[in-house]
Symmetry: C2
Subunit: 724 residues, 2 copies
Amino acid sequence: MFTGFLIAVAIAITITLGFAAYNYYAVKRLAPGTREMQEIAGAIQEGARAFINHEYKIIALAALAIAVVLFVVIDWYVGVTFLLGTFMSALAGYVGMKIATIANVRVSNQARESKSLGKTLKVAFRGGSVMGLCVAGFGLLGMLLVYVFFGKIGRQIEPESMTVVANWLGISYIPFTMSITGYSLGCSVVALFNRVGGGIYTKAADMGADLVGKTEAHIPEDDPRNPATIADNVGDNVGDVAGLGSDLLESYIGAIISCVVLACYTYFINIHSSNPISDELLSRLLLYPILFSAIGLIACVIGIGYVLFRPQSDKPHRELNIALWSSAFLIVVASCVLSWFYFRGLDVSAIDFHVGPLSPWLAALTGIAAGMLIGFFAEFYTSYDFKDTRRLAEASISGTALTITNGLALGMKSCFFPVVILACAVLAANALAGIYGVAMAAIGMLSFLAATVSVDTYGPIADNAGGISEMSKLDPVVRRITDKLDSVGNTTAAIGKGFAIGSAALASLSLLVSYMHAQIGIDEAVHEAVLNIISTQVLAGAFIGSALPFLFSSLLIDAVAVSAGKMVQEVRRQFKEMPGILTGDEKPDYTTCIKISAAGALREMKLPVVIAVAVPVVAGFVFGAQFVGGLLIGSTLSAVMLALFTANSGGAWDNAKKYIEFGGVEGTGKGSEAHDAAVIGDTVGDPLKDTVGPSLDILIKIMATVSLIAVSIYSRFNLMNLFN
Amino acid sequence: MFTGFLIAVAIAITITLGFAAYNYYAVKRLAPGTREMQEIAGAIQEGARAFINHEYKIIALAALAIAVVLFVVIDWYVGVTFLLGTFMSALAGYVGMKIATIANVRVSNQARESKSLGKTLKVAFRGGSVMGLCVAGFGLLGMLLVYVFFGKIGRQIEPESMTVVANWLGISYIPFTMSITGYSLGCSVVALFNRVGGGIYTKAADMGADLVGKTEAHIPEDDPRNPATIADNVGDNVGDVAGLGSDLLESYIGAIISCVVLACYTYFINIHSSNPISDELLSRLLLYPILFSAIGLIACVIGIGYVLFRPQSDKPHRELNIALWSSAFLIVVASCVLSWFYFRGLDVSAIDFHVGPLSPWLAALTGIAAGMLIGFFAEFYTSYDFKDTRRLAEASISGTALTITNGLALGMKSCFFPVVILACAVLAANALAGIYGVAMAAIGMLSFLAATVSVDTYGPIADNAGGISEMSKLDPVVRRITDKLDSVGNTTAAIGKGFAIGSAALASLSLLVSYMHAQIGIDEAVHEAVLNIISTQVLAGAFIGSALPFLFSSLLIDAVAVSAGKMVQEVRRQFKEMPGILTGDEKPDYTTCIKISAAGALREMKLPVVIAVAVPVVAGFVFGAQFVGGLLIGSTLSAVMLALFTANSGGAWDNAKKYIEFGGVEGTGKGSEAHDAAVIGDTVGDPLKDTVGPSLDILIKIMATVSLIAVSIYSRFNLMNLFN
């Protein structure tokens, strides 16, 4: 029977990846436009390819080093699953970047040839869907491989995979949880590199282009006279596409493994209790998350396919919503049926399913509802359809200082409701299905990932298409079409960020609980995981933990600012030394700008990654497992706040600027003093919302995953043990 | 013997307040300068007086309401000690404001008549010392009264004050801890009102004056043509003097009571254990914090007196440092002797004094050292003698956006080391003297409060004197003298902020531990206070708790921005309707501006205060005591980060601007584009560093104090109990 379930998952993955391949070639077949368009698109593609290749070399070295360590101190298969994780995540990022750089020019050309919003939308969304389907498909494929080769769950819970073992160093752990945690860590490491590297790349180019182009030379965005403009477009692909893809793949996997690991530890903790988890129930608990996710895949294939094959429409916002909500609706219905038959008749009280077989399904619904609400608040605070961003736009009449001040206040205020929703979701999921339910809430939130990533990727593709149209001096109507598509993408991106932050918080919390179980569950016979925050050791960890996201953010902002500063100097130099550029008689040197962005990103991405990976390990070896528990909770709390604050401040500044450009504030508009103030707000917000915010999501998950692996080592070997 | 100790404390207080009175009249006796100077000073004095009177009426109403609630739901004497606390805190604020508005014009006149930096310094410091001595003296006086009338500790631990009682509602508590917590809450409520109200007042006036004056009309600071300039100077007195005074009095008392309450609860928790705390030891533990503080008073009287009576010097920085460090040195020596004889021969193992009778003294030293280090880092990140602020100043060459971005990154980075120091201090103090030691670390940090507040208050007095000199068009040499004094004050103010944040964190943590004890210690026989952060209820509380400081900050920033916006409109109106103002032919209407600031502050200060007081109480009644525990830890962690971030970003922007003005960055200076960018940075930083940062310190302490009182009520009556 379990083999049957695994085959079903394999079929779902095959369908998903097959559909992705179909869409890939369907986009590639389209005409790529004029020679000029192809030239520009070629330059973007080449820039992105060069960066990703270089970045992947660095990642490969880092990954190999980590794999060797895992191989030596734990066991060979953890090194292998880790490398599998890096491979899957890297692959998803690569494919996404590839299709985005193929689709961008074809979107532009579709708009040029058909002048139809509906037709152009289909191309852009088809391009985005390749990424969405690949992220979820590859992520789950790797997970399935780990199950089949290292879990042996297809047949039964076999001793070598589901018992506690001790390795040559005397470190004890459960092989299966180690395998999947290793897989998750692989995904996390690539995600962190891609997010941080891509984030620095894209915002250095963007800020550099804006600081000189818009503010000094007063030329519009994507103007071919701006030497940084190609770098800016490359950045969209390596940051907003490849970075986002690996990021969400990592969230997806993180949620799944936190659920699985929790189930394992709960099983071991209760093994000698009066109410143990039966072997049958355990197997079902371990398989449930990937079955749920497989249902998600098929639902998204249907939702995306429906939008792609139905007659075209001129309402892009509605189309995207149909894709999202039809997928979500199908998941809710199908997973309800699955859960009912799957858990019916089993005694589920041992795992705290308080309302019967549908408990985990209800917990997942809590997650979906919380994700939607958090997404709504992201839109509420950052869209100019609502009062806060409008008021921010109006504040720019009073000058730059009040624009910045009000934007900061808006971002701070915007943390409150999402956090209350998150807290309620945690309480509700726990009341329904225990801590397993909290992990299921994260899985629910991410179950229609293929659809959300498709929508998220469609945005930067449309953005790039706009850039290519502008640079190739196409008919302005083409730009208007791509702009319309892009602006719809911005709104959905805000919602996507809400999901990313919410699910990251839930996944890290589940991982943290797993961590506490890992620490107590194996060596002793304690029945409840306790992390006493008022013990001074945990408290000290929590203090330092809550400072880490601030440190991490400042490193990222500095990295962007330094690279952007170099870009500014280069652009100024070109304008000065080649006066023909601004008159349009001379072609700017795009390549140097691309190199500056790439070099900056590759140089600056290393330290933040090292901090994220090394701090919990070093802290564990010095201060022990309790301290690291504090570190994790402190960093999670503070990272969630900072992520919401930066994402919403940045988003609101961006849209306040757009609101002014679009004429929303009387007596202002492009070129007014209020607009200048709003542009500065937008520039300040850029690194906050696109580099800092998304990287923080990964930071907390990677810290939790690293600790979950390392705790088995440092709970045995640490300085505190030495002294006691 | 204990009566003897109490008499000694009374003598120390008498000497301190006597010296304050002497200094008060010594300053008042001085000549107040020309008729014009007196007129301006009169206007400032009148504005400050009117605001404080109005504010105190509101505070009185709020305090009476709270006192009635305490009277009804707990007992009459808690209402009385609460009112005593409000009275002492209000008195300290009032006297400080009074002397500051008397001293400012006399400082200006001293500079005018003597043209001597040294002589002027003495007057300013004498003025500041009145405030410093009063804050510590009044704070400890009230505490002593509570001990004498409600503690009965002078004779012995009598049953009615040192047992657990139950009142008519069935709520059980320890009368003595309730009395002193009530006293502390009184201090907190006034401090919060004064800080928030004063903070909004001063920054609304300051930003309003700067936004139109400096940025639009290009007239210098304190120019008499600026209609908001008197309001700005009034703001210094109600915010930086009265607000600061009540704030630090509250910290001082908060640290003392957290130590005392902890001792009480530890006593009760261990009363039936194998190693109970003896009655003798308990009495000594309860008295130790106020003896330590009394030593601090005398040391500060000597330190301050030495600087006032020694021959004048032209090195103001050195003079202030002598006052600070001689006081600190005396405290260290004297308290060492006290501790040795005080605890010698007692069995101190029951209270976790791990290194004998000197344990609490060593813990206090840890606090002093941590405070100094945190102060050093505050200076390191915000002074232009160090690289970070210099780099920030250089960034302003690249424009406003990078100035803001870099300032934000600097502030975020600056959280790390202070927090690490704080964590180490907690670990060290706990290792030396248990959780009592952590509270003693806070007391150590604040023990030379009289000296630090004197130094802190001297700054705004010098600042005001500069304003008066400018407005009365005195010889520029006068302004140069006051500017010099003011700039020294800025550095010491940064250090003072470090102490304020550090001690607030330690005091809140001690209060939080007391809270956990209060919750478990009375009803059950649990021996260790546990707050399990990974239980979902605590976690949910922690999430919401960490969002509260962000919400609170955004309300404060909004309040300042709204009031500043009104001020901008008024100043613009006056410039437009009375064109004679800018040419100097017409006198601006100062009074309207003063009224705008006052009305804004009084209107906007209420909501933040209500949130701070009501949230923990309401949360307790709905979700119970564990949830509130999470709320407290979450808000403490997040408030400490935000307080450091805002204080240091703001301070660095301020000093980066000064560095440019002073010619530190080549090719810039007043009027350059870089200077404009730096001025915008400074304006953004103003509400962050002077309104948000200091208010956050109080927020966490008032929440902890309120909870500590309310927990006895809601641990009996709450919705969760109803359901279970």
